[in-house]
Point group: C2
Chain length 434, copies 2
């Protein structure tokens, strides 16, 4: 006879807090790589990171309870890297290299905790900001986004009974599995999970990662989520992000230094990392300008991650540049990670097959695709374009131009100045889904 | 690998309402027996039932959230007898008799729903009253008590994590099992569950009933809980309660009629029921007075349920009365149901063995004994003496004297009048634990 476990049931129904982020490793690997460099070279820089909801029609403050949001953020602030996690960070091989993290950095990380936040409701939105030393504020980006996205899913699912939820997840599982079946047909595919920040929920991301591991085997190269990498013996993947050129740029005093700032980032980066970690993210202030002003040694780097132009167009521009600079694209690597869906992955793969090495970082469409899964349609389960960007460095405004004006962030006057300095050629507006 | 059932987990952690009372059969059987008689003979009587917390130091309104209480009461009001339940009530044999409920009564019951309630907070207590036709208000007693008691347990358990809860229930289970081991040693014991109203929770009562069924076998004669009787193929047990003489008494106009009112109840009762249902509850206005004024035919009834005097003393008084009236106590039945614990059951059993037939109705100490079970002591898990009594009938105050002045209820002036009419001899104060 099936017996009710009374203790378990009482516990489940008197739930106090169901923490969304339960480990500081539940973040993207590149945050740790960047953090080591920030810690080593810019320990004094002060920054502010701000939540930006590009989907302005979604009134987050109406969907998500402020008390629950504060509880989750407060809980994240209680976290420390555990002993097991520290040992793993120190002992694991990342990108083929042992001890990628310096002992001094790990010793400092042991005492890391997330700094305080400021939260204000305004016009149906949350103004959520993290101010303080860059070495602390930078690690808020991923947990803050994961918390808001999961609270939004939870709120949307409150209307469903157990069978509706069962159907919801059954459909989402079937859908994810169908995608893996499609992708399996691409013989040389290399794909990884980049979906932490906009995941539906932690448990769902875990399911997706484990499903990909079983479903596409060798083609699945790992996950950007450090915790899931550790727990599933997968590679932790990721390189660097826009916050580096954004902060470097914000700290310059002259237009000349501003133009040079993206290359300064790369120079500093290669003091710390090599090999497959030498991936250029070219679009912070427009890829055209970046390629135009790039010193020749940039073409020696392993690859590029075009992150805002359409993948085929953006990739071809980089291939052309390599050829101009006398490099052989078939020896180079392109990492695609912007708004990928199974269709885009297939098209991009087929287009570049044999022309360049490729890798795909699959994000939101992997870990938060519940379209047509709910028994009754519910807007709150549609992923939205929510980001947490650096907006100030040492009191100066930080700006991102991007190849897609819809993804630009920062003060309008400052954006105009950057456009004057870097030029706006080849930038083109595309709808930003997620 | 143990996989998380994500849908189930989301549901459990976004729980909307965990209803305490989920069936109108989740009540004591005697309420249905009394209801049939009230429906047949007193369809016009209006009554008020009121919650009375004898443990005044326990501030219920501070322990239990008003919103949750209203949600539970409102949910109980949505309940109807289901088809399966109606078929079972009509088709089952109760106390050896088929069709104990008349078809006309069952036809009326099919549309039964609990009437509205009034809830006011005052001085840390809840004033909870149910007013309306007696045929409706009477059925609130048990669900109202069960709801308040379980909400109190839930509130008390909110502080515990899953392991503390596991230990809490493990200890309570071990304790209950120890009691069954003790009681098993009494060869002719007949014992049943009377613990619905003050149970810790529905699931816990169900566990206790199933454990007794397995643990003491034939000695376990059934349960007063109609739903648990139906679900476990057990006898549904119970006869009648103080509300009958209390209402009958309240409706009299003269002292003479007042004295006769308890016997009028019995006369009406035997129009409906016979055999083992002819059990006298003698203490509503004092057992001494009841026995003194009782017509001789009362001694022909099957047995007595002494409910407020200490069991040995109270039982001996009835045995003496039977002998006075020339009846043989060994042919008679005593049902003990007041504040029983394993020790009292043993003592009472040993005392009356061979002198009279006995049966025990085990209540609060069976279904709500968590003493020393919690990892850290918590007052909210101690059962309290909470009752829901009729306080008015057709606008007149209803009174209970009891053999124990601590269990008296009603308007003080009216209690004095009743004491004058019935006399107060042999009443003695005893601590009321539950």
């Amino acid at each position: 006879m099936a017996r009710t476990d009374i203790a378990r049931r009482v516990y489940n129904h008197a739930w106090k807090l169901d923490p969304i982020v339960r480990s500081l490793l539940d973040t993207d690997f590149y945050k740790l790589l960047m953090l080591q460099m920030i810690w080593g070279m810019h320990p004094e820089v002060e920054t502010t990171f701000s939540l930006i909801n590009r989907a302005t029609s979604v009134r987050l403050a109406d969907e998500i309870d402020e008390g629950e949001l504060r509880e989750q953020l407060d809980h994240a602030r209680t976290l420390r890297f555990s002993k097991k996690e520290m040992i793993w960070l120190g002992g694991n091989t990342f990108y083929g290299r042992k001890q990628i993290f310096q002992p001094e950095f790990l010793a400092w990380l042991e005492n890391f905790r997330l700094p305080d936040y400021e939260l204000v409701r305004r016009d149906g939105q949350y103004e959520l900001t993290f101010s303080g030393p860059w070495v602390y504020t930078t690690l808020w980006e991923i947990p803050a986004l994961a918390i808001i996205n999961e609270l939004r899913s939870r709120a949307a699912m409150k209307r469903f009974g157990p069978f509706a939820l069962d159907v919801l997840y059954a459909r989402a599982k079937a859908k994810t599995w169908d995608k893996t079946e499609r992708l399996k047909k691409l013989p040389e595919l290399r794909i990884s999970d980049f979906g932490t920040r906009r995941r539906h929920s932690f448990l769902w991301q875990r399911w997706c990662v484990e499903a990909l591991k079983e479903g596409i085997g060798e083609a699945f190269t790992g996950t950007s989520n450090v915790l899931l990498a550790m727990d599933n013996d997968l590679e932790a993947l990721g390189t660097n992000a826009h916050e580096l050129p954004m902060v470097y740029a914000a700290l310059t005093d002259t237009d000349e230094d501003l133009v040079q700032s993206p290359y300064r980032v790369l120079q500093d980066w290669q003091r710390y990392y090599g090999g497959n970690l030498l991936i250029v993210l070219p679009d912070a202030f427009g890829t055209a300008s970046f390629l135009h002003h790039a010193p020749d040694w940039v073409a020696d780097w392993t690859g590029f991650r075009p992150d805002s132009a359409p993948p085929i167009e953006g990739g071809e521009r980089i291939l052309a540049w390599w050829r101009e600079r006398g490099r052989d694209p078939t020896q180079k690597l392109l990492i695609f990670s912007d708004g990928l869906e199974a269709e885009t992955i297939e098209e991009t793969y087929r287009h570049f097959e044999g022309k360049v090495r490729m890798s795909f970082g699959w994000g939101t469409n992997l870990t938060n695709d519940f379209e047509d899964c709910a028994p009754t349609p519910v807007d709150g389960l549609k992923a939205i374009s929510l980001v947490c960007k650096v907006t100030e460095a040492n009191g100066r405004p930080a700006v991102k131009l991007s190849d897609n004006p819809a993804k630009a962030t920062g003060d309008a006057g400052e954006i105009d100045r950057y456009l004057r300095v870097f030029g706006g050629e080849e930038r083109a507006e595309h709808a930003v889904k997620v």
